[in-house]
């Protein structure tokens, strides 16, 4: 469980070092224990949390007690049932105690081994149905299972019927091939997967002995998974933390599936996890321990800290809002001090670029630097959010993921669609409203610009995949052909979600360039493996009642944009966060999955909650972001990982920002196709043309993926900045900033340098810089020397990067 932010934060300020750590909270996991039948059992763990945020597994150190030993027994931290009823389990550690109830039922029942809920998990955990083994499409050595058990009926048939039943021998279970092969009793290319004295072997054997029955139809469905603890903060190497995995079923029962889950660590340098469910810390760092069981997967965050490091929270850094609270909470646990607040010059440059894609002009910078209003940063953000360049930025961002381009839409469709989007951002329409209009759009794409949404991608599956990725950040593509190995999405989920979009059609309009989007009254989509018609089903959610004649898209749009939708608001908010921080809390923002967990889970939730609370007002969320200390942080001297958000994430100016910056700093505008001189790169609608923008990674809008935009530096970019026409021509333009400054008799070299620095860096030169650079200017031809200095400024890191 997480320690509350504020509480931890207060503690961190008080507590100077680890040596003073005090246990503050004891917890038993899992809570509300149920033993559902005579075979059931449940292991328990006890975790203590210290005042410095670190945790320790104290299962062996606490004093365990049951209020009565009539109903259950406890041995080696495992509960087994004795008689129906209820009792209380307690743990005591020093002055701390924790309790939970234990409910025992059906003690007289000894249910047979379930094929669906026990045998398949043993096969999965042993690797039998992995893609590289019998789960491969063509099987292995004549024996094929479905990948990770997604076709359980088929698997049962293959186990019991194929090969004249030799795989299973109910008369002599130990002679069954499925027991002989994986134990090495007969040669097995896949090696030894089970030991005869292990749990897995025993489960398979008992199942065979009892008749190898298929209970797929009757067995309760797996409906959820829990993984304990939710977080571990281990201070030092070789510390152990047990995990417990509990599965929940449709009949209300649960089961300890720690032994049946597949456990892995995303960063084994920081900590490993073994098959018995024990995490062992190693080097300082962060890892996510993942548990997979059935179609579910979960992670728990494990932070490993250096042992006994004295750490003091910087006295002058306080959280400005919920964003800082979450970021600081983790920084404190990791013993990382956040960077100081950046200076005004850095802030003004950063916030102009992030909010408007522009550099501030020298005058704007001067005014901001001279202003002594203590609230000036907040007021600047408010002012920038009202500028006309703001909607341009968001129209561009959305145009990328909505793939507004002329190939599919015709130029006219492209322009009207883009204008519609820009107007929406200009008038600050709530984001949920924009999305609902896109999803329910109909009509000619020139008259009803939103309907272009359904023309970019016209196949049912393609539409569904785009909706999932763009509005929920979920990539469901893989589930088209098989159940996703690491994720919860199954083929049923995929086709169920796609069924919302299978009645969208388009036809040619009166104007032959125009297309009219409409919805047909019928048509169904079937899962190609089962052949079963897919009922429209929300992703990870319910199957709604849809009336005859009702537009399925409206139903899914209402679900998606409802305040309690588990994906939409968080994902949209995280995309906004990512623009300002250079990376998302989930990163990339459009790859939300269990195995790519948020760096700050609470923040991810809160961003969504706040966006809903603000009525999907984009500007309000941006105000929060810009007000946070974390956004205003300077560069961090120790360069901790970017995912800590401890300091500014230095990144190259985007293609559009850089070209406009070069144009502005040189005061030589760039002419963009179909736009008047003076228009900005951010306003360019057509994603083709203009070589500079292409070289610097503007996306071609060929996919909905944020990865389409490339922000890494390359050799081509550098060559272009050194030698290319963009810099050279603008430096030498007679009407440009430099030539005009030099032509003016009353402008001193000092003043020229000030102007260039203010324009490019939004700051004045330091005395050292002034001395060195002006000395270079004086020696030789003045115009040539100034051109070289200006060239150097345009090629300098401080200019090329957002910092």
């Amino acid at each position: 469980m997480h320690v509350s932010n504020n509480r931890w934060f207060a503690a961190a300020l008080l507590c100077a070092s680890l040596s003073a750590q005090q246990p503050t909270r004891l917890e038993i996991a899992p809570g509300d224990i149920r033993l559902d039948d005579g075979r059931d059992r449940q292991r328990v763990i006890a975790i203590v949390t210290h005042d410095d945020g670190t945790t320790r597994d104290v299962t062996d150190a606490v004093e365990w007690a049951l209020s009565s030993d009539v109903h259950a027994a406890l041995q080696d931290a495992e509960l087994t049932p004795r008689a129906d009823g209820e009792c209380e389990l307690s743990a005591t550690f020093g002055k701390l105690t924790a309790n939970t109830t234990v409910t025992v039922a059906n003690t007289g029942k000894q249910p047979p081994v379930s094929f669906a809920n026990e045998v398949i998990p043993v096969l999965t955990r042993s690797g039998c149905n992995a893609g590289t083994c019998h789960g491969s499409a063509s099987g292995k050595n004549g024996f094929g299972l479905s990948l990770f058990g997604f076709d359980r009926d088929g698997d049962h048939r293959k186990l019991t019927r194929e090969l004249r039943g030799r795989r299973i021998d109910t008369a002599d279970p130990d002679a069954s091939l499925i027991l002989l092969k994986p134990t090495g009793g007969v040669p097995h290319k896949g090696g030894k997967r089970l030991t005869p004295d292990g749990e897995g072997y025993a489960t398979l054997r008992r199942w065979i002995e009892a008749g190898a029955r298929n209970d797929v139809k009757q067995a309760p469905e797996l409906v959820g998974l829990e993984l304990f603890p939710e977080q571990a903060v281990l201070a030092g190497p070789d510390l152990l933390q047990r995990v417990v995995v509990r599965a929940r079923y449709s009949d209300g029962s649960d089961r300890d599936v720690t032994d049946l889950s597949i456990l892995s660590s995303s960063n084994e340098v920081a900590a490993t996890v073994n098959a018995n469910g024990v995490i062992r810390s190693a080097e300082p760092g962060e890892t996510f321990v993942m548990a997979r069981y059935g179609t579910f997967a979960l992670v728990t965050q494990v932070l490993v800290l250096p042992k006994d490091v004295a750490f003091t929270w910087p006295g002058d850094v306080e959280p400005a809002n919920y964003i800082d609270a979450s970021i600081f909470d983790k920084l404190g646990k990791q013993r990382i001090a956040p960077a100081a607040r950046c200076d005004d010059a850095t802030f003004v440059r950063r916030v102009y670029l992030d909010v408007l894609n522009l550099l501030p002009t020298p005058d704007e910078t001067r005014r901001f630097l001279a202003d002594d209003n203590p609230n000036k940063r907040v007021e600047l953000v408010d002012a920038l959010l009202e500028r006309p360049e703001f909607p341009d930025v968001w129209a561009m961002q959305w145009a990328e993921i909505l793939r507004i381009e002329p190939e599919q839409l015709e130029p006219k469709g492209m322009y009207v669609y883009h204008d519609w989007l820009r107007d929406a951002f200009q008038s600050n329409r709530p984001l949920d409203e924009i999305v609902r209009e896109l999803l329910t759009s109909k009509g000619g794409n020139f008259e009803q610009p939103q309907s272009n949404f359904y023309l970019v991608e016209r196949s049912t599956k393609g539409i569904a995949e785009n909706v999932a990725q763009v509005f929920m950040g979920i990539r469901i593509q893989c589930a088209q052909c098989h159940n996703h190995p690491f994720e919860r999405w199954t083929m049923d989920d995929y086709y169920g979600f796609a069924a919302f979009f299978n009645r969208v059609r388009s036809k040619r309009g009166e104007d032959p360039r125009e297309r009219i989007v409409f919805v047909t009254g019928g048509g169904e989509l079937a899962n190609p493996v089962t052949g079963v018609v897919a009922k429209p089903t929300f992703l990870g959610g319910a199957t709604p009642e849809i009336k005859r004649g009702q537009d399925r898209r409206a139903v899914v749009a209402d679900w998606l944009t409802a305040g309690d939708n588990p994906f939409f608001a968080k994902n949209i908010a995280n995309r906004v966060f990512a623009r300002f921080f250079g990376r998302g809390v989930v990163d990339p923002p459009d790859d939300v999955r269990v195995s790519n967990p948020p760096s700050h889970p609470e923040l991810y939730e809160q961003l969504g909650t706040k966006l809903v609370e603000y009525g999907y007002d984009l500007r309000q969320l941006i105000r929060d972001i810009c007000a946070s200390h974390s956004y205003q942080a300077a560069a961090h001297p120790d360069a901790p990982p970017a995912s800590t958000f401890a300091g500014v994430n230095v990144r190259r100016l985007t293609a559009e920002q850089l070209l406009d910056a070069i144009s502005d700093v040189t005061q030589v505008p760039t002419k963009y196709d179909r736009l008047p001189l003076g228009a900005r790169a951010t306003q360019v609608v057509n994603p083709t043309g203009n070589r500079f923008l292409g070289v610097f990674g503007r996306p071609a809008r060929e996919s909905a993926c944020t990865c389409d935009r490339r922000n890494e530096p390359t050799l081509s970019q550098v060559l272009h900045l050194i030698n290319g026409a963009t810099t050279t021509a603008k430096l030498r333009d007679d009407k440009g900033r430099l030539r005009r400054l030099l032509a003016s008799k009353d402008v001193s070299d000092d003043a020229v340098l000030d102007e260039l620095f203010l324009a490019a860096y939004s700051r004045m030169p330091t005395d050292g810089e002034r001395d060195k650079l002006l000395q270079k200017v004086r020696d030789g031809d003045r115009a040539t020397n100034w051109e070289d200095v200006f060239w150097a400024i345009l090629n300098s890191r401080e200019f090329l990067f957002t910092h």
Partner: protein, 438 residues
């Protein structure tokens, strides 16, 4: 100072090494050349100096080349499997290719053909990932392309970038978890176009080498202030590219490698005045000039419908260009130290589908190698009667990658550092296919 992560600190030190090393090369430069490029010195130790291949030309036929219709014909299979092409006798005894690649068949004695490549990824991007990186795609990490690994391990040579994409890169051609500094140089221009020119390699008028050196010193002056604030991978990658750029600009020989006009018109004709023809001729120039890894792509092999007329045209271009490249390299004495790889993401279904095309088939397909210390005139492995599975000597994507790395002098078991200071082998679970080697 806050200690957040001691192992991250040590990695930061290594990065610092590279940075100060680069800075040294920059400041010690009255001239703009003579410094090794990009790669940190410590890593050069992993490279063998006596490696057979000095350069790799990786020709990637995107879409998935049908093995049955090219290097692994099945003339005795039923017509719905063998397809419409006839066979042609190759220069190797008893071995046949399809009749649409007669020129390649005629130089088969210089080639090694693997007919038993196999992997399990039937989607384009996943197949490309396998064949470009030697790894199966992972949900947690992106692996670097072979070209980026070569750039990382061997660095540049002769003032040229280590890794060049002709004419451009694409998904999984990049650096994956490695620093962006090992990204390919993408030409961004088509060698077969009339005005082909790699842009921005020469200084603008009025800027001679001395003036460029002065400009460079000015930037260093300004940057020194900014660098005090902290460091980041993007900034360091940019710094590395600036160093590479200055070296390339300062080297006439380096720039000339990109100039196709220096090739005789007759030779250009022999390669074919086609996209692939001119790309391969440029690749040969780059390899001979010192580029370590050249990735050439050629699209149009995803033939789900009407495969036979389409592929015939496509392969005619390959036939001329590839056979000329091998013969040209051989006659110039460069084949021995240039490893040429003709590869693709997967093969195509043994059975022709109802649209007269073939679909994706990763279970078995063919890849061709030449030069760089591989056998001359050798067929490795075989597929089953209908070209559905490997019949003998299967070769996996990691096996192929490990073999290529070995030939350029990189130990495939060497570990690279991924984010979070997690060491990852260059290739995992692979064996070097010794049978391929001369």
């Amino acid at each position: 100072m806050t200690q957040f992560d001691s192992s991250a600190d040590s990695a930061a030190d290594l990065r610092l090494d590279r940075r100060s090393f680069l800075r040294g090369s920059m400041l010690g430069a009255a001239g703009l050349c003579a410094a090794p490029m990009g790669a940190p010195l410590r890593l050069l130790q992993n490279a063998r100096t006596d490696a057979p291949a000095h350069s790799v030309i990786q020709i990637f036929l995107t879409g998935g080349l049908s093995h049955i219709d090219s290097f692994d014909p099945k003339p005795s299979a039923p017509v719905e499997y063998r397809g419409e092409y006839r066979t042609v006798k190759s220069k190797l005894d008893g071995e046949y290719f399809t009749h649409v690649i007669p020129r390649i068949a005629a130089i088969a004695d210089k080639l090694t053909v693997i007919r038993s490549m196999t992997h399990g990824e039937a989607a384009h991007e996943r197949g490309i990932h396998n064949m470009m990186t030697g790894y199966r795609p992972s949900p947690v990490i992106t692996y670097p392309s072979m070209g980026s690994v070569v750039a990382h391990e061997l660095g540049g040579r002769n003032n040229l970038p280590a890794y060049v994409c002709v004419p451009s890169g694409g998904q999984f051609r990049g650096t994956g978890y490695l620093s962006a500094a090992y990204a390919p140089f993408e030409l961004g221009a088509e060698p077969n176009s009339r005005n082909f020119k790699v842009r921005d390699m020469t200084t603008p008028t009025g800027v001679d080498p001395d003036r460029l050196a002065r400009r460079r010193a000015l930037v260093a002056e300004i940057d020194s202030e900014f660098d005090k604030r902290g460091k980041s991978d993007a900034v360091e990658a940019s710094a590395a590219f600036y160093d590479q750029a200055y070296e390339l600009i300062g080297s006439e020989a380096g720039r000339a490698a990109f100039d196709l006009d220096k090739e005789p018109a007759k030779l250009r004709d022999r390669y074919g005045r086609t996209t692939l023809g001119q790309r391969l001729l440029l690749a040969r120039r780059l390899a001979e000039a010192g580029v370590r890894f050249i990735h050439v792509q050629h699209a149009g092999y995803d033939n789900h419908r009407r495969i036979f007329p389409t592929l015939r045209t496509r392969l005619a271009e390959v036939d001329r260009a590839f056979s000329t490249l091998i013969a040209d390299l051989d006659s110039r004495g460069s084949l021995e130290n240039t490893l040429v790889l003709l590869t693709t993401e997967f093969g195509r279904t043994p059975k022709v589908n109802r649209d007269a095309g073939r679909d994706h088939w990763p279970r078995v397909f063919s890849v061709v190698l030449a030069g760089g210390g591989v056998k001359r005139g050798y067929i490795h492995g075989s597929s089953t009667a209908t070209g559905a599975e490997p019949a003998t000597d299967p070769v996996t994507a990691p096996d192929l990658a490990a073999t290529v790395f070995t030939q350029v002098g990189i130990d495939p078991s060497h570990e690279l550092m991924s984010p979070g200071d997690r060491p990852i082998e260059i290739v995992r679970d692979a064996r070097i296919v010794r049978d391929l080697l001369a």
